[in-house]
């Protein structure tokens, strides 16, 4: 279970990333953030975001039109 959830559904690039970063900023290392997005581009983008920032992409799944991500803050 994630420590915090971000609903980014309906938002387009780059808003899911920017809002996720904002949420992560307020969290402590080791905590995880669950993100829901409807932007198909966010699949590649959250992977790139995590590679660049060092945060861990715990999971990346799709359920219908919704993409679910879990990111653990380093």
């Amino acid at each position: 279970m994630a420590d915090q959830t971000l609903d980014a559904k309906g938002l387009n690039c780059p808003l899911p990333i920017i809002k996720a970063k904002k949420a992560l900023k307020g969290m402590t290392p080791g905590q995880s953030l669950a993100i829901e997005s409807t932007d198909p581009g966010s699949v590649a983008d959250f992977a790139a975001f995590c590679r660049q920032t060092g945060n861990e992409l715990v999971s990346s799944d799709q359920a219908g039109d919704v993409y679910n991500f879990e990111i653990k803050k380093v």
């Binding site: 938002l11 387009n12 690039c13 920017i18 932007d39 975001f49």
Partner: protein
């Protein structure tokens, strides 16, 4: 400033020169600038010529369909362009700009004001070009707070220390 540049750490830096002041061209610098900042990069944006519009307190950004054959709006299942002779009629740009703003809202695209706010919040360094402020008689009080004033040497110093440099 730019302490992390080229030191081999994960942290990189980016500089962007923004030269255009239309609604569509306002997006690339602000999207890449805010996203790079979200990815822990140190970002500097240098605004010159029409790019200064993007720093004004009162932004009224417009698109022009004139001379842009690639600009087509999705409408009733088709993509509709605008012949130049129609684009030249007064009021058409304003109408097209309103359409673009509506389309962006519908598609969940951020407004430029929101992206600029995100840039400020994430400490993106913004520099306005002194020469073009003089040229167009724009007062620094017309610009949002927190903007630095600088010239070509300032922009080049930043570019020299940045991992990524964009000119837009």
């Amino acid at each position: 400033m730019l302490d992390n540049a080229n030191d081999g750490s994960n942290s990189k830096s980016m500089s962007i020169i923004a030269t255009k002041g239309s609604l569509d061209w306002a997006y690339p610098p602000f999207i890449l600038g805010t996203t790079a900042a979200a990815m822990d990069m140190e970002v500097t944006m240098f605004f010159t010529f029409y790019g200064l519009e993007l720093l004004k307190k009162d932004m009224n950004l417009q698109i022009s369909t004139l001379g842009n054959p690639a600009m087509k709006f999705p409408m009733m299942g088709m993509h509709v362009g605008m012949p130049n002779i129609v684009s030249a009629i007064p009021g058409v740009d304003a109408g097209a700009s309103a359409m673009m703003n509506n389309l962006m809202k519908k598609k969940g695209v951020a407004s430029i004001a929101d992206l600029r706010e995100a840039a400020i919040e994430s400490d993106v360094r913004m520099i306005a070009c002194q020469m073009t402020l003089d040229l167009f008689e724009i007062k620094d009080t017309d610009l949002i707070d927190g903007v630095e004033i600088g010239g070509a040497a300032t922009a080049i110093e930043v570019a020299g220390k940045s991992d990524i440099n964009y000119f837009m």
